[in-house]
């Protein structure tokens, strides 16, 4: 399955899912007017790839801000990853946020509470701009 890349806009995050490498990344801000239409295709692609491949997964989440409907979309992604991990596939989620960002740290707890098979870690955010890294094909 090919990579999925959607550039960030003012209200939607960078989606950089390098499916062949198993390295996925979300970065930036997320408060689209219709989060279902933004995240729907992303979630579909993720589910299809999870079903079609058994490459180990690493998801980096470097979101600075997301609204409540984006939070629901993220939860759906984590649940799809948890299902894959429960089936024996190695899945890591690295949740990056600023040290003083209590809200983002609390979100990490909200999401990871019942992820028993996904290895979920919280780390410092790498770049303040949340810009895309170089394409890794």
């Amino acid at each position: 399955m090919d990579a999925l890349r959607i550039d960030a806009t003012r209200r939607t995050p960078l989606v950089d899912f390098d499916f062949p490498a198993g390295v996925l990344r979300l970065a930036g801000e997320s408060y689209p007017d219709d989060s279902a239409s933004f995240f729907g295709p992303v979630l579909t692609a993720l589910r299809e790839w999870l079903a079609a491949s058994d490459v180990p997964v690493r998801l980096d989440v470097e979101l600075v801000y997301f609204n409540s409907s984006s939070a629901k979309a993220l939860m759906n992604m984590f649940q799809a990853l948890e299902t894959a991990a429960a089936g024996g596939r190695p899945v890591r989620v690295i949740w990056r946020c600023d040290e003083d960002d209590d809200a983002m740290r609390e979100f990490a707890e909200d999401f990871s509470e019942d992820l028993d098979h996904v290895e979920f870690t919280v780390a410092e955010r790498l770049d303040a701009a949340g810009s895309g890294r170089d394409d890794a094909a």
Binding site: R10, R11, Y31, D33, S35, Y65, N67, S68, S69, A71, K72, M75, Q79, D98, D100, D101, D102, A103, E106, D110, F111, E113, D114
Partner: protein, 183 residues
């Protein structure tokens, strides 16, 4: 007269600690622009990062509720996907804390369900709000709600005091809804 009238209007806003107030049609574009202005203004005034983020989060949820649920809407007649919803948003400082008030017209038929949700949230303490948020995060959205439930919980969890709200009946089966959140 003109300047006097508007000077009095401005003085009234200043006296109430209002940083900015917007009344009219809101769209996602207006939400974005006002949100950026709000973040810049708060950062310039050296509000701490977590406070800026809490105010911004409540602002976005409130504005998106107006955009989705306002009963006063105009839609482009030529099929373009432009929808403007009328409402009000006011942000200010009171007793050294930020507050956000949002208001919009809604159908009176929708009042009981919204009132029930808000009453429920008002009665929860911090830990209960957190637990309820986690539960709703894992639930499918209510039919027709377009996600308001989790949005209201998000608002309640960013508040430093219980949320305040009120409804005033208007003509034509509509009501005016107002929600005040202290950060």
């Amino acid at each position: 007269m003109l300047a006097q009238r508007y000077a009095a209007f401005k003085q009234d806003l200043d006296a109430k600690g209002i940083i900015f107030s917007f009344s009219g049609y809101v769209s996602e574009g207006i939400l974005y622009s006002l949100g950026e202005a709000l973040r810049e203004k708060m950062t310039l005034e050296e509000a701490d990062g977590p406070t800026v983020r809490r105010v911004f989060s409540v602002f976005v949820e409130q504005m998106q509720n107006i955009i989705r649920y306002s009963a006063e809407k105009i839609t482009a007649g030529d099929g373009r996907s432009i929808e403007l919803s009328a409402g009000m948003v006011t942000i200010g400082m009171e007793d050294k804390t930020f507050f956000i008030v949002c208001a919009n017209t809604l159908r009176s038929d929708d009042v009981p369900v919204l009132k029930e949700r808000l009453d429920f949230l008002q009665g929860l303490d911090k830990d209960a709000i957190k637990a309820y948020y986690r539960e709703q995060l894992r639930e499918a959205p209510d039919e027709g709600s377009r996600g308001a439930t989790i949005g209201l919980i998000e608002i309640a969890r960013r508040a430093s005091a219980p949320i305040e709200y009120d409804f005033a009946p208007l003509d034509d089966g509509k009501s005016f809804f107002c929600l005040k959140v202290r950060i």
